[in-house]
Symmetry: D2
Subunit: 388 residues, 4 copies
């Protein structure tokens, strides 16, 4: 491939383990594929299910050595830490409430962590992880995967370069419709745990609102000051929020709105980010991710293609195929994995990581949890303003 990504391996693949992601799971297979795409990881160990039988069967399906299929994450952390060929990183792909204890166990065992989002189910746990990461110096990557899309990188670089002038407004949304009806009552596995506050720690706000918020922060480089969140549960009997309308006030004066919904009929994974500055604006759609619309004030809108004319180096370094050959969700997800791999290689060699390497970190996870907590508090008070 002529572009930024290559499958050349420097110094051997990184040994990867996984907690969660067994038969019937969704996001685990995405993580494995993302790890595999650029050939930077070797998947060698797992505690793939809390159900031991399913864990073993899943390991067999995936060609894991049965000796490295563990019944519990605690066993896995301990055993792998003790092996000379033990895993160098663990991917955590369980329901949300388990992220924190698992991450802690592996960090304490000296193993780098790649964790699905939202990072925890409380700000307190998030702070504890930040503390542990800082103390251990380990790599901690959070799979806010939308930051891996090349045109999101492009957007971030354009804002940072001042192409938009002063940021005035940010309009972010993530709309889905899969929870339009009460499918959690019909045994759908994904719906069941995601609508159970104990396992998910929240509804649309944590599952998808935090993604929209994350790319708003990532692209704009801004820090939120306060928010006013009007959260609803439109489906009767549902215990978590399924639609969130949120006003945002950013430090420095920018304003914005964020809409997260899982009951918006006609939307699949409608992540949309629009950023408006005093000089220009940009617009990006996850469902058509290879393009960025950029409009200078008083100029016709440009349609910038990934790796095409007007595309910058930040997009190029996470690109695999030429413009007009679409890349998608998995490529974006893989970019996060490959960036983390580069950080781990730097760690291996004791060098400082290349400053061009970018991936969501434990601090981003904390910021996300603070957003969720503030929104939940605002909504509980009748949608009043809450400082983040």
């Amino acid at each position: 491939m002529v572009e930024g990504r290559s499958d050349a391996v420097e110094g051997g693949r990184i040994r990867l383990g996984m907690v969660g992601g067994g038969q019937g799971a969704f996001i685990g297979a995405v993580h494995r594929l993302a790890a595999r795409m650029d050939d930077q990881y070797e998947f060698v160990a797992g505690a793939l299910s809390s159900n031991k039988k399913r864990a073993l069967a899943s390991a067999r399906d995936l060609g894991l050595d049965p000796d490295r299929s563990y019944g519990t994450f605690e066993d896995m952390a301990k055993a792998e830490a003790g092996r000379t060929d033990g895993i160098e990183a663990v991917a955590i792909v369980t329901p949300n409430h388990m992220h924190a204890p698992i991450a802690k166990a592996f960090l304490k065992a000296g193993i780098n962590v790649i964790c699905d989002k939202p990072m925890t189910t409380s700000v307190k746990d998030a702070r504890e992880l930040v503390r542990l990461v800082n103390k251990t110096g380990l790599v901690f990557g959070l799979t806010h995967n939308y930051t891996g899309y090349p045109m999101v990188r492009q957007a971030r670089a354009m804002v940072a370069a001042g192409d938009l002038g002063d940021i005035r407004m940010i309009q972010a949304e993530y709309a889905q419709d899969w929870l339009t009806e009460k499918i959690e009552s019909s045994g759908q596995k994904q719906a069941k745990w995601r609508t159970d506050p104990k396992q998910s720690g929240g509804g649309a706000i944590g599952d998808i609102g935090t993604h929209a918020y994350n790319i708003a922060c990532f692209v704009s480089g801004l820090t939120l000051d306060s928010l006013c969140a009007d959260m609803s549960s439109f489906v009767k009997g549902r215990k978590i929020d399924d639609n969130d309308n949120i006003l945002l006030r950013w430090k420095g004066g920018a304003r914005g709105m964020l809409w997260a919904s899982q009951v918006a009929v006609g939307h699949e994974n409608g992540v949309v980010l629009r950023v408006y500055g005093s000089k220009a604006s940009l617009e990006w759609h996850q469902e058509d991710p290879n393009y960025l619309r950029f409009t200078g004030y008083g100029q016709p809108p440009l349609r910038i293609t990934r790796a095409g004319p007007g595309s910058n180096a930040d997009a190029g370094r996470v690109t695999r195929v030429p413009p007009g050959h679409p890349e998608g969700y998995l490529e974006g997800f893989a970019n996060i994995y490959t960036e983390i791999a580069q950080a781990i290689r730097a760690q291996r060699s004791g060098k400082k990581p290349d400053p061009a390497i970018v991936f969501p970190t434990v601090e981003d996870g904390l910021v996300g949890m603070q957003f969720i907590e503030a929104a939940t508090k605002s909504s509980a008070k009748g949608a009043t303003w809450v400082k983040v």
Copy 2:
């Protein structure tokens, strides 16, 4: 034309006058063209400018009888009311602060009124107009012209027929960028009066927010309960709001957001309405107005074309050309004029107007003013919830 509109004239054209709309004005020529499109009006009199010389020159340009070019609206109302061939309706196309006094003068003179929006600059004035219209029984049409688009009619009918189920969310926006810089200081005539609170009565909220709100009400059939408006002036020294982020709570439980901006770089007249129900959703864009996207839950999205398959009678009766031949802003505007003409014809003949006739009325004007007033109040209190 094979469709709903025809230029057949029943019983003679309606005699129309105009206040405002002289040389250099924008919306006056739009009103005249809208009146002319279906050949239902004859433009015969005007007080086209508050500047007498310009008024006369404008009248000459437009081929008016100089005797019916008036120096003041008061003179015009009086003189026309006294003629046997006097105007049957007046179009008011002045800056906003003059709408109420002019409308009152003509209503009192027994002349039907077609008024540009926002109807007044205060709820008090709006109530007074409602009172006068009810008292006189005259026709009062408000040119919230976006309700004239066929696919907006289609949307309204689909909601009314229950095609969407219970309405849950309404996302409305009207984004422009023409006030991104401080052009009001450079002598641009439109910018000057529209950013002067005395003439306009408010900024983006009245100029365009009220349009977005109007079609949200029109299509959904819902009544607003309360709102929380975060209004900004991003351009230094500007006296009115140029960006409004608003949370909406509708009676019956629906929620929504409304965004009005005149500093959103890259937007021209970006009116977008999205309505989500328990069974389906619909989406309409003013800049691509001949299409309606309709998605039933669990169904692929449909693209319904004006006058094409799936298009209903409500769209058809305000349609002129076959599907695939686009109609635009002027046709939508003309639909309002032609609907009002039909109401005036009913009045002429003493018959009840056909219930299919729909146009924004003095009551809609009051609803709009209440919205503006509530938003302004909410914003002044730091963006807190205000009952409408």
Copy 3:
């Protein structure tokens, strides 16, 4: 309106008559509306139907003086030519086979002609009209209305200015689906005459292919050298072509393809023009007519909006409303009428018309007939190359 078009009347409206266009007709009402839009014409006489009763009823509907409703076009030409207030122009909106005799009658009576397309049903008749127009010096406008769209004007000006470099390829299409089934057998009036070779003079090639060809010539400024036409009748028993695939070779070396179809399910009025040069390309869609996509080689595509940034004077002078307020089919059609009005005003005053005035002429009509005849000949010979 702030843009190029105005409804100011200089020296009185132009007196217009019409042949055809009575009750149940389609294109007649479009012509009347187009004439009315900018208030440049006064519609005063007609021979609206070959059926006398319908002619009179139609005249009454439209508010014509009964004395100026004629039973035949011959009577009309004679009577109007003899009046001091007789018509200055006639609009011919009959089935195609009547265009030539009617046009001749009015030209001979000294009356300007506005004729629907295709101009005639033979090259011979077309040549005769060219001769007559040249001899009389009268204005002859042909309503190839797509040339009236502002962004088609913009495209033409960009090509003429060399923005595209040398033209290499032209891809033109006009796809419809209304003749997918044999509706001519079910009494549909439009389908009946348009699929009758005697009345239409040909099928898709003349009805719509000639439109696509016309804007290809208009925008590129090129002259066709030869063509190879593969014409089909997909619907059994149909006497005219309903799908035409055509290869084009232009003088100077450009190549192209043209597709005209009336059996292309899913298309309404899909006129698309794409022009590629050595330096840049442009793309225009009639169903989304307010935008032009322009791409310089090695540059991101620009989306130029009618009257917006990057829009030129050629588009501006035929524009009525600001960017983001869509104009459509009727506005484009009206531009042809208003351009012709300007030419007639120049004639009235004995002045040379402003060179900026552009509308399809009798010569364009001849070029169109030569295209139809060459395509028909090519197809009859098994789709071989034919010089135009």
Copy 4:
């Protein structure tokens, strides 16, 4: 992942080798990634460059055992055929003129072949490969990768099910702009060999025209009868065609056009397929590949999303992530690899392959070469009709 694809491994990965694809090559890395995506292959041997030093360096980059990095494909075929753990399949990713000799060598050595397109540079060579494959019974997959896109599978299944009725027209295109200028003279490696008739065997017709033709055949299920090809070289001094306009006549009466261009400014990889039948039509764009537009006659167009409502099993079985999460070029390419892996697994086990397995075969390669040869012949004769 909840969808059709899984990374479960049955019976161990398939041992894969590669000829070509060393440092600086494009398509080799794409093949390796495609092989890796679903974890069905293990890449173990290569003759990665005709330059021995580069071959070895490339092998090292990719972590190959140096013993299995070969200097020539002949050595590789021989050595690997002699190993018990030798490769089970070879991917051929060299310039076109080498495909045939390499494929023959591996087929003769009893090794399955995955070959890039066009398959050969002559019909004669193509026939020889067909003969060899039939004789050996080996698996031969041709990477006409666009057939791997889920929505292309969906389209094919819909046509096969009769959803479109009788096919009437097929409009296919593949437009690029990368050869707009004479970059082959400036040392661009890809341009150099692709515009050299000796290495490529032809220009746009073979490089991309054959892709467009392949999916037209794949989706429609039709066989071409004859064609008329007008091929050009717009760039001076270029030895191969860079723009091809082709008329198509299919057996059974359907007609069509095919446009392949590498000088169409503004196009990146614009593969577009439109198929029209007596009952419905469908449209697919490679640059927005997750959607299929389907329109039943007299119905509003549907937008069918990959894995979404209306998406069928044929799309589902080659899908990895939920609707709204875009898949792209690499996923489509990987589908070809994974289908071939399934065929090889069937071969391993001596079972008949699942009839659901679909990938382009050696026969498709022959059909492609016949198309190229017929087009070249037609063009040489001045664009006359040639039977295929």
